[in-house]
């Protein structure tokens, strides 16, 4: 092979390296939360690479191409600085601003954040995690799942079992067993409640149960090369079947009432404002953590293989990659993310029942993702906030029109905004730049 065709590749090289560095930095900042330092360094990096870009232009023969690619890497850098700053601001708002406004600003003040608002935002953040998970599997890998609600609910049920055990003897029947079991005249805990007293085991279950179901289901579906709409339909069937199973009293999950009336988590009263705030902060940080993780995944070669699978699976196969493994990995990651979201959702909303597994609930996740914008990581989060914000306003103002609005929104987005809200924003900023 002949030598490196020098100059024109250099920006690519710098972009590559920086992208890799970014991976490290993102992980680092996720772990340590020292995003400030990182983003200051980032600024310098931008300057450095701009200079590099110029130097290349001077020496290159194919000037235009190089300028284009230097601009390309600059715009990437700018985007990254933006994301870094946004992440930092979001983290600050969640960890400092929200607790301050909710707990320390007096209730009468305009700046007071009501408990209702805290609960609403916390709930939407859980939804946003689901939308993010959906984006990884749908937006990036091209596999539309209409059964993600089942993973969300399984994570929620795992947490719910623990919370039910935390009630102790404070239930209506003052029994050691959860109320619904007393009602059914059961004398002892069923086998699958065996580890429900342990918080640590519950954390494991939250990850393992959705992960295992996703692994088994995904393995058979992907091995049989079930694709496209057929896959969507069987995921829908899966969530529906699971819902029917959980509706039954004999399965030991509280039938159609599910679990509710939680009292404590880790021995601390769950209704206390400080507990609620702690859960809120944990949820927010989880969302940010998953966002950074997803960014890292998508920016890696793994992420590019996923996009390649979406665009030309046969080419991926004939290039020597085994699509089954890639699909299965991202499918399980996505399911686990949903499970974690469900586990965070249940203590804050205070109830989990089989309706979370209804086909409509899963379809809604897909709608948030589509509305926000597929194949951009911030899009689904925006979508989850936008649709659910609209929902909470609509269901108060015009409760009977909400579903019509949702349907109309989905149709409008599909027809006019294939890239969702984020696509719209990007288009308008690009126009501004050109003008």
């Amino acid at each position: 092979m002949s030598a490196l065709p020098g100059a024109p590749l250099t920006p690519t090289l710098s972009r590559k390296r920086e992208r890799e560095q970014e991976g490290e930095e993102v992980v680092a900042s996720a772990e340590e939360g020292e995003a400030v330092v990182a983003s200051a360094e980032e600024g310098e990096a931008v300057v450095a690479s701009a200079e590099e870009g110029e130097a290349v232009v001077a020496s290159a023969e194919e000037g235009e191409a190089v300028v284009a690619s230097a601009e390309y890497s600059l715009s990437r850098l700018r985007e990254r600085v933006g994301v870094r700053a946004g992440t930092l601001l979001a983290a600050l708002a969640i960890c400092i601003l929200a607790p301050l406004l909710n707990l320390f600003v007096p209730q009468g003040s305009v700046f007071h954040m009501s408990d209702y608002a805290v609960a609403l935002v916390a709930k939407i953040m859980c939804y946003a995690i689901c939308a993010l998970a959906m984006d990884l599997i749908w937006g990036y890998t091209g596999i539309l799942s209409l059964g993600h609600g089942v993973f969300f609910a399984l994570g929620g049920y795992a947490m719910g079992m623990y919370l039910m055990r935390q009630i102790g003897r404070d239930g209506n029947y003052q029994s050691d067993l959860p109320d619904f079991m007393v009602f059914l005249d059961w004398k002892k805990l069923p086998w699958h409640w065996a580890v429900s007293d342990s918080f640590f085991a519950t954390l494991l279950l939250i990850v393992l149960v959705p992960g295992l179901l996703a692994f088994v289901f995904g393995f058979f579906a992907f091995r049989s090369r079930i694709k496209g709409v057929y896959f969507s339909i069987i995921t829908q069937a899966m969530t529906f079947a699971t819902m029917l199973l959980f509706f039954r009293n004999e399965t030991g999950f509280g039938g159609n009432n599910g679990f509710t009336d939680f009292k404590r988590v880790l021995g601390i009263a769950i209704a206390k404002p400080s507990t609620r705030m702690t859960l809120f902060v944990i949820t927010g940080l989880t969302l940010i953590g998953f966002f950074l993780f997803a960014r890292w995944l998508v920016a890696s070669k793994f992420g590019r293989v996923l996009q390649a699978i979406r665009d030309a699976e046969s080419r991926v196969m004939f290039t020597g990659y085994d699509p089954l493994r890639y699909k299965l990995t991202i499918w399980v990651i996505s399911a686990v993310m949903c499970g974690v979201a469900g586990a965070l959702y249940v203590p804050q909303v205070g109830i989990i029942n089989p309706s979370e597994m209804s086909p409509a609930a899963s379809i809604e996740i897909a709608i948030w993702t589509a509305v926000g914008g597929r194949a951009s990581l911030i899009g689904p989060i925006v979508g989850a906030f936008f649709v659910n914000g609209a929902k909470s306003w609509f269901t108060q103002a015009f409760p009977e029109f909400w579903l019509y609005f949702l349907g109309a929104l989905f149709i409008a987005v599909t027809l006019f905004l294939p890239q969702g809200i984020i696509g719209l924003l990007r288009r308008s900023t690009k126009k501004e730049e050109r003008a």
Binding site: M1, T12, K301, R315, G320
Partner: protein, 295 residues
Amino acid sequence: MTPELMEAGSLRREAMQARKAGPGSSGGREASYGRVVQEGIIDVSHGAILYLDDITVSFDGFKALNDLSLSISAGELRCIIGPNGAGKTTMMDVITGKTRPDAGKAFFGSTIDLLRMRENQIASIGIGRKFQKPTVFEKLSVFENLELALKDDRGVKSSMFFRLNGEQLDRIGAMLQLIHLKGSAQRIAGLLSHGQKQWLEIGMLLMQDPKLLLLDEPVAGMTDEETQRTAELFLSLEGNHSLVVVEHDMKFIHELTRDNAAKKVTVLHEGSVLAEGSLADVQGNDKVVEVYLGR
């Protein structure tokens, strides 16, 4: 159940059982003197890199391939022509593992049984395939397309932590130059012209460093100049790689066989080999003229 059907069924069953019993490590034949069979090593000591024997594929009774036998020598450039529906693409499907034949054998070298492997395994032992319709990753840049095709560990974990090293970067750079896409490295592949996509796909094949390249109509949609350059590229690969070129464009075939008048050309018709020989022989063959060249 007619007797014929039963007979065909029992034959097929026998073939399947033979396949299941497996060729073992010696590739289904007695090991010859003094050679040790090694897993994953392509044994071309018999001269052939690809060996198809009595391959039959039928779709709902229609025989796309009918007792097709073909052997490609190591380092050979073989052109395959034939009218539409002659089974050219199906033959490639069989070699690359996309279609399982009803009967027959397909070996890569003397020892690797292709019929027991999946598509991605076949690709990673060194058979690269270019599709009839250029298939590249449309949403990724040209550079990223080549990066994905780069010969490397294909595992999930290694691709999560993958970093391009200097040598690999050089390879991609050299390839960009070879396929004349140096200036478009950061362009999104979907924006390339048809001919450029063909080149990109060929580049992706070469990044995998395959021993055998299967090229399905590689110059469709190319300008004359691009076609000329493609012919030169293929001729430069001959010797180090084995190439199978399926093509309709007789001018291109002329171009590929110009340097050596004895170079073999195979004509397929109705799923089996109709004629094989030098281009001049084949064009003079009455049967060929009748089914294909007869105008």
